[in-house]
């Protein structure tokens, strides 16, 4: 398990996260929701050891995160960034190959190539392999990066549970690929016994694919549980300040569907006229 235990982070008197305890379990997808500035990205940076908590502790497979070396962590946890700023002309395949950097000494070149090949296939970017990464569209780049982090968790010859952290993985994707990526995350969680955390903005994507949902607001955990309970109208209204209705998702068992009401602008009409 990858867990935060009563974690707080304060930077220059500003509290970014407060007393946060949650757990990413192998085999499960945890979706983290919340309005802008709620601390979702900060949470991801703590879990990926980019930042250290001011209070509390983060544990990875029952050991404190800090007890693992960076290289060991890289074999247990991969992080998909929100966007890429790579400006050097690597081919997509070379970018995916970088996911195998943690295995450059422990695996043969052929094994690493196999992992890259498989990752390109399951991320649906095999046809882009020889293209220059810099020439791809935003969505294509995001999928190539996904292939890279999948290659990083592929064929690791280890009994340890592994974790995949996704920062808004669907932000640049079209409808089909949004569902492909999250469906893939769900599938890999089950088949590879992977613990997946994904930051999302779309409540209905979270409702469809997550096993657990955490809603953050102003650095605090507001709701945490299965989609049916955590996506109750009152929770959503409190966190996002929008009016919603929640009903059962058609043809899906135990999945809620969130319907958002249009905001009311009547109060402003006198101002605009």
């Amino acid at each position: 398990m990858l867990s935060t235990e009563h974690v707080s982070l304060t930077i220059r008197d500003k509290t970014l996260l407060k007393d946060l305890s949650l757990t990413i379990k192998p085999g499960e997808v945890l979706a983290v929701l919340g309005p802008n500035g709620a601390g979702k990205s900060t949470l991801l940076k703590l879990l990926s050891a980019e930042l250290k908590p001011s209070q509390g502790q983060i544990t990875l497979n029952a050991k404190p995160l800090t007890a693992w070396t960076k290289a060991e962590q890289a074999r247990l946890r991969a992080v998909l960034p929100q966007s890429s700023r790579l400006s050097f002309p690597f081919s997509a395949e070379e970018v995916v190959m970088m996911g195998r950097i943690p295995y450059r000494h422990s695996h043969t070149h052929n094994q690493n190539r196999q992992a890259v090949h498989a990752a390109l296939q399951i991320a649906h970017v095999e046809h882009l392999a020889q293209r220059l990464f810099t020439s791809l569209s935003g969505g294509e780049q995001q999928r190539v990066q996904l292939a890279r982090v999948l290659a990083q968790l592929w064929q690791v010859d280890s009994e340890q549970a592994r974790y995949l952290l996704l920062d808004e993985p669907t932000s640049a994707l079209d409808l089909a690929h949004q569902h492909h990526v999250l469906g893939l995350a769900q599938h890999l969680a089950k088949t590879w016994n992977l613990g997946v955390l994904t930051v999302l903005h779309d409540l209905n994507l979270a409702a469809l694919y997550a096993d657990q949902i955490a809603i953050l607001k102003e650095g605090q955990l507001q709701t945490y549980g299965e989609p049916q309970t955590s996506l109750a109208p009152s929770h959503i209204q409190q966190a996002f300040a929008v009016e919603v209705e929640v009903m059962p998702y058609p043809l899906q068992v135990n999945r809620p569907l969130v319907i958002t009401q249009r905001p009311n602008f009547n109060q402003f009409t006198t101002l605009t006229l």
């Binding site: 980019e50 962590q73 946890r77 992080v79 960034p81 002309p89 970018v95 950097i101 450059r104």
Partner: protein, 347 residues
């Protein structure tokens, strides 16, 4: 490493060998390539029925060989440094000359040359041949750290800030160097002027051999950092996620870079643009993978500097041009072309 990369490295080694033989043979005393090979063989202890001409041996061994050795060292050092800081700064326009690292080294070295006899007297006599390289090393280390700090913004280096910082630092150091020339006497002044424009002319075996490890070791060590530099191109956070302790790696790289540039500047003065041109040509043709780029840059940089030095010492025969002028004449237009290219698309 795939076949293509191996092929490239082998061709670059061959190119360097050919350039070395040419550079050893061409000059006021012409020595044909075959004769160069015979002299080298004889020097290495190969038994020979009719030994080569003694005059030619002296010219080759005492005058040209140290100069060629220095050219290879400095060329390889500057080019691999360029490739390294371009990766570290995630910025293909970084060059030790452009961002002021060379000027930092130069200012420190000029200070020692001019003030060495008075202010730094104790220091100079204690460190001997290493005084100038050490001073230049400290100068370049300070500037590299400063530029890195200035240009870094939210985990990435800003191209414009970095180049502007380089301009400011170059101007500042130029002014300080200028001030020092007032304090210099006539002899010092002549040394300074020639040296600030770069030259391999001062090479002697003692000098080359004492400072050889200061460049050679970093050049041999840097390729080990290729996977880390590749990961840095993805982003600093991403490099951390791939298992690298980036803060440590950055510190080591900055020290290695400063060591190479500092020593190179102390030995040959300011030779610009090698670190910009060489990695770029290689990246255009073979991609940005540092596992190939770093060793290939070192090899091509060495060859390029030998060519530049050949031009410098033959074109106005019997006089000699500073090599910095040649590299700037090639590198300046190249840089402009690069800027234009960068305006339209990525690298």
């Amino acid at each position: 490493m795939n076949k293509r990369s191996q092929g490239l490295l082998i061709s670059l080694v061959l190119l360097l060998l050919v350039m070395t033989i040419l550079a050893l043979g061409i000059g006021a005393v012409e020595i044909p390539a075959a004769q160069v090979l015979r002299i080298l063989a004889q020097q290495l202890g190969w038994p020979m029925a009719n030994p080569p001409d003694a005059g030619q041996i002296t010219v080759l061994v005492e005058i040209r060989a140290p100069r060629v050795a220095l050219g290879i060292l400095v060329g390889a050092g500057l080019a691999i440094t360029g490739a390294t800081i371009q990766g570290l700064f995630r910025n293909p326009l970084a060059d030790p000359g452009l961002i002021g690292i060379s000027s930092g080294a130069a200012l420190a070295a000029v200070s020692v040359i001019v003030l060495g006899a008075t202010v730094f007297q104790g220091l100079s006599s204690a460190l001997g041949a290493y005084t100038l390289p050490l001073a230049a090393f400290i100068g370049s280390l300070l500037v590299t750290g400063l530029v890195y700090r200035l240009a870094k913004l939210e985990g990435r280096t800003d191209i414009a800030t970095m180049l502007l910082a380089g301009i400011a630092i170059n101007a500042l150091l130029g002014a300080a160097t200028g001030l020092l020339t007032y304090a210099a006497n006539d002899t010092q002044l002549r040394t300074l002027t020639f040296w600030l424009m770069g030259s391999l002319g001062s090479a002697t075996w003692t000098q080359v051999l004492t400072t050889l490890p200061l460049i050679l070791l970093p050049v041999l060590v840097l390729p080990w950092f290729a996977p880390a530099l590749n990961a840095v191109l993805l982003g600093e956070a991403e490099a951390g996620h791939l298992g690298f302790n980036l803060e440590r790696i950055k510190q080591v790289l900055i020290v290695l870079v400063a060591l190479i540039v500092g020593t190179a500047v102390a030995l040959t003065g300011v030779i610009g643009f090698v670190g910009l041109v060489v990695p770029h040509l290689l990246r255009l043709a073979f991609g940005p993978d540092h596992r190939l780029l770093l060793p290939a840059s070192a090899l091509l940089g060495a060859s390029l500097l030998l060519v530049a030095d050949l031009i410098a010492r033959t074109v106005v025969n019997p006089a000699e041009l500073p090599i910095g002028i040649i590299t700037a004449l090639i590198g300046g237009p190249f840089f402009l072309w690069l800027l234009n290219r960068y305006r339209h698309r990525s690298f």
